[in-house]
């Protein structure tokens, strides 16, 4: 429970909001951030799928080195890397313990390491790509590769609204706690306190459901006034909106270098 309290102190609402805005808008100046979204998507699609089908350790290792370098270039926040490492380690370790229990031996470690390597290549690639795109860029990129306008709108909306929604939820939660009565006895392993907190966390959604639905209505009315639905359904509007997105010299250079590196990997290893 001490552990829980420590975490809850670290993740105060303000802290979370700051961290969120930082991940969203913090890395606008890195090399990857200046690339065109389409370049990043192409790059990512390769690194997101191909590692699954490669079983040669040396090639995987080479890819791993490459994505580590891109992650470094993208200046991803250390907190995210930490979360990723913990997740990978716990998953791999868990599998290992369980397979030892079922009569595996040390030979089990190698395939698991390869699996972990694959997973880390994929997740590092996604982190370096998606952390270096700010929301506007991401939504424009998605729009360009044919996602519906609603999706890109939702991303922009999410980034705008989430901090205020979080604050509202926090207020409701606090007012529930103010008016309610916390359990006097903590119970075994604090279970009464945990149950109480869970109950309040769920109940707080009731007022939030109603107020958010009002807000959703206002949003949609505003969208209608701006004529956004016309834009969602007519390709020429989209074209006009995305006219400034173009692949430039450094995009081609980046893709070319990646391809060169990978071909070298495949040939020499």
């Amino acid at each position: 429970m001490e552990y829980t309290r420590k975490w809850s102190e670290k993740f105060s609402v303000e802290q979370v909001k700051i961290e969120l805005l930082n991940t969203a808008y913090g890395n606008g100046h890195t090399f990857l951030a200046r690339l065109d979204p389409i370049t990043l998507f192409i790059w990512y699609i390769f690194f997101g799928i191909v590692p699954w089908f490669i079983h040669q350790e040396t090639i995987l290792l080479g890819m791993f080195v490459f994505v580590v370098i891109t992650t470094f270039i993208a200046k991803v926040s250390p907190l995210i890397i930490l979360i990723l490492c913990l997740g990978l380690l716990s998953q791999g370790g868990y599998l290992l313990v369980a397979s030892l229990f079922f009569g595996g031996n040390l030979a089990t470690i190698l395939p698991l390491l390869v699996l972990t390597l694959k997973l880390s290549v994929i997740s590092l690639a996604s982190i370096s790509v998606f952390c270096s795109m700010d929301p506007d860029k991401l939504s424009n990129g998605l729009l360009k590769i044919g996602f519906p306008g609603q999706v890109s709108f939702s991303i922009a909306y999410g980034y705008r609204m989430l901090p205020s929604l979080l604050e509202e939820y926090h207020h409701i939660f606090l007012s529930f706690r103010l008016r309610g009565k916390a359990p006097e006895k903590k119970g075994f392993l604090y279970w009464r306190a945990i149950v109480y907190f869970c109950k309040v966390a769920v109940l707080s959604f009731y007022p939030l459901l109603l107020s958010t639905s009002k807000r959703a209505r206002t949003t949609v009315e505003a969208l209608e006034t701006k004529g956004s639905f016309y834009g969602f359904n007519h390709p020429e509007v989209k074209k006009l909106k995305l006219a400034n997105m173009k692949m430039q010299k450094h995009d081609y250079l980046f893709l070319g270098f990646t391809a060169f590196y990978l071909v070298c990997l495949f040939i020499f290893l």
Binding site: T108, L112, L138, G158, L162, C198, L262
Partner: protein
């Protein structure tokens, strides 16, 4: 009867409202559950997997399709992209399984005031979602580890771990954070929340069916994708042999075939998304003209 059904069809703006509502609320809850710590009792993990009651409630109260898609998108945007944990293509699987499960749960309820119906729907929604995701997780290890049978104990351990987390999620998160809150919230919100979005409460006469989303196209695409996955697996296995035997041709061959296969898959996905959106749009236009 027919008239009553026509009256419930939503305009595009109302669909968007349901979509935004479900997206922002479920996204918010997702962020909260991401930040909540999990408690370990030995190997057993007690964690709040998700607040499934929010999409379940909304799918039962409103049109299930838009609420389900909104919730799934909210999870991706708020819970993943904004926290910098976007898994890219892996999210596609989550998106599909989650929206499918929530949609099915929503279609099962005909009367939101009937608590037994709501409860059954909530549990079934959670079970479908968890079952799909555990199967996919098992498949991931199966594809990711070459010659799985050669490794002693790995198959059993993966199945046991996934089965265990399935049971844990269904019994713990499912009952505490899906069943109880949904049964509590749905009858209370019914008739209160709909006027805020400017629509009539759903009445017992209108039903949704799975046919609306599972058309022949979806089945064909699913089969194609599964086929593509097996092709990749086959290519990679034969590719290893090629590298061993003839060093010059091998890598280039895998390289090219992989690239071609991926481009085809991506094209299919993009094409279907476009087409789906177009048909949805056409349908709404038709409805508006006819009503």
């Amino acid at each position: 009867m027919n008239f009553a059904q026509d009256r419930y069809t939503l305009t595009q703006s109302q669909k968007m409202m349901v979509f935004i509502l479900s997206m922002s609320l479920y996204g918010l809850s997702n962020m909260i559950t991401e930040l909540l710590p999990s408690v370990y009792l030995g190997p057993i993990e007690f964690s709040v997997e998700y607040f499934a009651f929010i999409p379940l409630t909304l799918c039962i109260l409103f049109h299930p399709l838009y609420a389900a898609i909104g919730a799934a998108l909210g999870e991706v945007i708020f819970g993943e992209i904004m926290l910098g944990q976007f898994g890219g293509l892996g999210e596609l699987e989550k998106f599909i399984s989650f929206s499918l499960a929530m949609y099915i749960a929503g279609t099962m309820v005909t009367d939101p005031r009937n608590k037994r119906q709501v409860g059954t729907a909530a549990m079934i929604g959670v079970i479908i979602h968890q079952a799909i995701s555990s199967i996919v997780d098992i498949l991931k290890v199966w594809v990711g580890v070459d010659e799985l049978e050669a490794v002693p104990g790995l198959v059993e351990s993966v199945v046991v771990i996934e089965g265990f987390s399935f049971l844990n999620d269904v019994l713990f998160s499912g009952i505490l954070f899906a069943l109880i809150p949904t049964v509590y919230l749905v009858p209370r919100l019914y008739g209160k929340i709909e006027p805020l979005l400017g629509m009539k409460p759903r009445d017992t006469t209108n039903k949704y069916s799975l046919k609306e989303i599972i058309g022949p196209r979806l089945v064909v695409v699913g089969v194609l994708l599964a086929g593509a996955a097996f092709l990749f697996e086959f290519l990679s296995n034969s590719g290893l042999n090629l590298i061993e035997w003839e060093l010059d041709l091998g890598p280039a061959f895998i390289w090219i075939s992989l690239l071609v296969a991926f481009f085809i898959t991506c094209l299919i996905i993009v094409y279907t998304l476009k087409k789906k959106k177009k048909t949805i749009h056409d349908k709404t236009e038709d409805r508006r003209i006819s009503s």
